[in-house]
């Protein structure tokens, strides 16, 4: 565990000495702000409409949590499809290309600790990205008021959504780590990871056309579909199992890939 933390710290250091951390933080904050602005102006337009037509029941379901905060967090899940490959591409591909894998593999540490350290490093970066996303609902909570007075944000719902976002990112990162173990090229690692993550998103579109069992299977495979329930404030065991099994599978395959390379 101590060795895994040493590697995680090294990964964090490298994220910040290379421009990757800054670019990823900037991109996430910028795109988040863009979504935030368009969602709040849409909210404003709707509430003006309802007020004009005097529709009290409309005003009842119009709230900042379901109209702004939750959709924003779901959108960030899609943004993670673009961002996570940049965080994971370097992890093992670069160790191999720079021949530093030889240092890690001849140090008195297990390869499982290498995998754990690398993964913890990405998780720390993901935690920062989720924290950046959390700033937007915090702004709403500070400056807005709820329909019945009090805070504008239902924190249980937003908290579940943020936890879901983190889990979704964690699953993506495990896939990215595995892909990074397969190649020496960062660009190839990023592109293949992006492709796989994109596939887990668009497979949900096909579900709409499919019928019967296929529909259920395709819906279950869709990563964004599983995030949607978290956005409603529902933490379903099925969604947890989906993300966690991706994490376990990704880490297991990464470990296998590292071991297999030694025997080649």
């Amino acid at each position: 565990m101590r060795n895994a933390l040493a590697i995680a710290r090294k990964e964090m250091l490298l994220y910040f000495t290379t421009p990757i951390a800054y670019v990823v933080f900037f991109a996430t904050a910028f795109i988040g702000a863009f979504f935030f602005l368009s969602l709040t102006s849409e909210f404003q337009r709707r509430s003006m409409q309802f007020m004009q037509f005097g529709s009290p029941e409309g005003m009842g379901w119009l709230n900042l949590t379901d109209m702004v905060a939750a959709p924003l967090i779901l959108n960030m899940g899609v943004i993670f499809i673009f961002v996570v490959p940049f965080l994971t591409m370097r992890l093992l591909a670069e160790e191999r290309r720079q021949r530093t894998m030889e240092l890690l593999m001849t140090a008195p540490i297990r390869s499982i600790e290498i995998v754990a350290g690398k993964y913890l490093g990405v998780l720390a970066m993901l935690a920062v990205l989720v924290a950046l996303t959390a700033i937007f609902p915090m702004l709403l909570d500070t400056y807005g008021t709820g329909a019945s007075g009090g805070g504008a944000i239902e924190w249980q719902t937003v908290g579940a959504a943020l936890a879901g976002l983190f889990l979704c990112g964690a699953a993506f990162a495990a896939i990215g780590l595995f892909v990074s173990a397969l190649t020496e090229s960062q660009v190839v690692a990023a592109l293949i990871t992006f492709l796989v993550l994109l596939l887990t998103w668009v497979v949900g579109w096909k579900a709409a056309d499919a019928e019967g069992a296929w529909r259920a299977v395709l819906e279950h495979l869709s990563s964004v579909q599983h995030l949607v329930a978290f956005g409603r404030g529902i933490v379903d065991l099925r969604d947890l199992v989906y993300f966690l099994s991706l994490v376990v599978l990704g880490l297991f395959l990464t470990h296998r890939a590292i071991e297999a390379r030694r025997w080649a």
Binding site: A6, L14, Q98, E102, L103, M105, A107, P108, R110, R262
Partner: protein, 250 residues
């Protein structure tokens, strides 16, 4: 300290080393010679636990490399052919990281990093990024990295590549000063280096051992010849031949 017996490594249809056996006593500096592609780096990678062997055994300090890899890795400092450096780290941060993964206790890390940095003479460039220092410094950081934790066994794959003549002399002095306390395997193409630093030589060619004895004995067996000539004679058989195939070798 190091016992290798009947070690064989095959890569698909290529035999890298074949039935290699040798022993290195504690405190000895062994010069490991051979033409390019003779299997030197492969042997070293097996001894450090980086790669498994196809058959045969290798033991370091009594521990089998395959069965107790962590015990072996704790006792071995290794400088690979290409120094394993992170270009985006400073030398200080890099050495600290290596000290951490080699299990140097927290309280001793700073002192240990300082010690190896001064041995390898990189103390004055500790805050520079590795990407920005010359090849000679990179090589010396690689040597410093191998010395961290003062391991019983040092395995150095061509440690003087890329150094200028005065640095080569310094590194040779450093290696000589390690004798007695550390067991060293030193691979090189430079024959003078062996004369300057080693007592015993192990020469391999085409993955097989062609000589393993004291330097003085080697010269007695081939009277009137320089070490260069002896080396060329011993390795000439494989020099022109294509790499051995398992079918041919079996």
């Amino acid at each position: 300290m190091i016992e290798v017996s009947q070690l064989t490594k095959r890569y698909r249809d290529l035999v890298a080393i074949e039935d290699l056996s040798f022993i290195v006593e504690k405190g000895e500096i062994l010069g490991f010679l051979g033409p390019n592609g003779a299997g030197k780096s492969t042997t070293m990678r097996i001894l450090t636990g980086f790669q498994p062997a196809t058959s045969g055994t290798a033991k370091v300090a009594g521990f089998d490399v395959f069965e107790h890899p962590l015990e072996v890795k704790r006792r071995v400092g290794y400088l690979p052919e290409i120094p394993p450096l992170y270009p985006d780290m400073t030398i200080a941060a890099y050495l600290r990281f290596v000290a951490e993964i080699k299990g140097v206790p927290r309280g001793q890390r700073a002192g240990e990093v300082e010690r190896v940095a001064s041995l390898a003479q990189v103390s004055h460039v500790m805050d520079r990024l590795i990407a920005n220092v010359s090849k000679g410094y990179k090589q010396r950081v690689g040597i410093a990295q191998a010395l961290i934790g003062s391991p019983d066994v040092l395995i150095l794959d061509e440690p003087t590549v890329g150094l200028d003549p005065s640095q080569i002399l310094e590194v040779r002095d450093l290696i000589r000063s390690l004798a007695g306390k550390h067991t060293v395997i030193l691979s090189t193409h430079i024959l003078q280096e062996v004369v300057a630093t080693c007592e015993r030589v192990l020469i391999i060619a085409g993955g097989r051992r062609v000589a393993h004895e004291k330097l003085s004995e080697l010269q007695e067996r081939h009277p009137g010849k320089s070490l260069d000539e002896i080396f060329l004679d011993l390795t000439s058989a494989t020099r022109t031949a294509a790499p051995a195939r398992p079918a041919a070798a079996a």
